[in-house]
């Protein structure tokens, strides 16, 4: 499937160099955003809220804030990387090279995961400073970070291939990702919602991602964890297949 490792690594180091030209946007902005969420909701407001299933509110909120930032980092990385290359036509450098479609996608997704992991490490350090970080299961934690990054990386690639304007890059974030994150249990348990609204949480993919990451960190789960993990793997596989197909037919890539 992957034979041109040098080509793949070139894609990664090229994008890392691009990110190093915009460190505030790529690294600092999500850290400041996370710091404010943790400080206001976790520390200030959370100090006046009772524990949830034996956990301090800041410990409950932290995995949700972390997942929101992982989702944003993954989606932004994929959209900006692919859309800018299309906009500049520098994507043609990759199209004329002997990289397979799988290698092109693997290169793009590798960078998405690297950016998500770097963002996650930065936020974890902030969390440590607030005493909000626990690790119930490291393998499960890594599973959620990597698979959710892949899912939003694939979604970002699809949007970047579809978009004709910069404006269109934000549609999914504004109308779906942000609202679904907020109602996906970042700041509250599903039990806190009115009963008629709970179905919305269980039908929300973001709920399973947040719930899964929270379980891996503090061992608290409100939903079927195994179902969430299987759903996540299947969703990543389906989106990956769609992206592969789009690359193979050249949708949004080749004239």
């Amino acid at each position: 499937m992957i034979g041109n490792w040098i080509g793949l690594w070139t894609m990664v180091r090229r994008e890392i160099q691009r990110l190093m030209r915009v460190p505030i946007q790529a690294v600092v902005a999500p850290l400041i955003s996370a710091l404010l969420f943790i400080f206001i909701f976790g520390f200030v407001v959370g100090g006046r809220i009772n524990t949830i299933a034996g956990h301090r509110y800041i410990e409950f909120v932290f995995p949700g804030v972390l997942m929101m930032n992982i989702v944003n980092a993954a989606f932004l990385q994929a959209t900006s990387q692919i859309y800018f290359q299309r906009f500049q036509k520098s994507i043609e450098e990759i199209l004329v090279s002997p990289l397979s479609y799988v290698e092109m996608i693997a290169g793009a997704i590798s960078i998405v995961i690297i950016r998500s992991v770097v963002t996650a490490i930065g936020i974890m350090l902030i969390g440590v400073a607030f005493g909000a970080v626990h690790m119930y299961s490291l393998p499960e934690f890594l599973f959620w970070v990597i698979f959710v990054s892949m899912i939003f990386g694939f979604l970002g690639i699809i949007v970047a291939l579809w978009a004709k304007t910069f404006e269109q890059l934000n549609i999914l974030t504004v109308f779906f990702i942000q609202p679904l994150s907020m109602v996906g249990g970042v700041f509250n348990t599903i039990g806190m919602l009115p009963p008629w609204l709970r179905w919305l949480a269980y039908g929300n993919p973001l709920f399973y991602f947040i719930n899964g990451l929270r379980y891996s960190m503090i061992g608290f789960s409100e939903g079927p964890a195994v179902f969430g993990a299987i759903f996540t793997v299947v969703l990543a596989a389906v989106l990956g297949t769609i992206v592969w197909r789009l690359y193979a037919i050249g949708w949004g890539l080749r004239e």
């Binding site: 041109n4 490792w5 040098i6 080509g7 690594w9 070139t10 894609m11 180091r13 090229r14 160099q17 691009r18 030209r21 290359q85 500049q88 036509k89 520098s90 043609e92 450098e93 990759i94 199209l95 004329v96 090279s97 002997p98 990289l99 397979s100 037919i249 050249g250 080749r254 004239e255």
Partner: protein, 250 residues
Amino acid sequence: MTPALEISHLRKVYRSGTVAVEDVSLTIQPGDFFGFLGPNGAGKSTTIHCITGISNPTSGTIKIFGVDAVADYRKARTLVGLSPQEFNVDPFANARNIVDWMGGYFGIPAAVRQKRVDMLIERFDLVPHANKPFRELSGGLKRRVILARAMVNDPQLLILDEPTAGVDVELRMDLWRYLQELNRDGKTILLTSHYLEEIERLCRTIAIVAHGQIVRHGPKEEFFTEPGGLERAYLAATGKVADHIAAGAR
């Protein structure tokens, strides 16, 4: 002998419905220096895009040294180097990185790549400019970077889409010498240009394309046995001769 490039009944229709290439068939022998002439919008660049994977052909076949450019695209790409008409690069990247990254995409190991990049940077007089962002370079320097990038994988078939458009006389002459050297060393070159003297000077075989079809194709000598030479043949083949004569009479 396996042709360097064999295009058979290539057709390209864009999603907008525009027929860019109607029916192009041509064969380029290994070691040839092939001139591809035609007015703007005739289908030259689209044909090149189909050869190199930037565009999907609607129908027809393209073989590069016998390798199908669609079915076996990875192998076909290793044989080709492209200098496109437009500057399709990250404008914030520097010249050295642009050439190096392309070598990386082709899977060239770092040690070999570095030597190759150094050689090309030197060959195209880019040493003082190698670490400057592409967007800060002059038009001629940008063109040199694009040419160096096209040659980083030491391609068997070099495709140059208007490589001397907007460059000064010095670079043009230097590039002509370099291309002749490469051709003498066995590289097959496909060159498009609007400068007829460039085609006359460099190419051994010429094809003229108009309205998405090859309207004239043959050895260079054929074009010079006619009165008016290549210019007259070009205008006649592209249907512009009447206008040209009328303008001359005025």
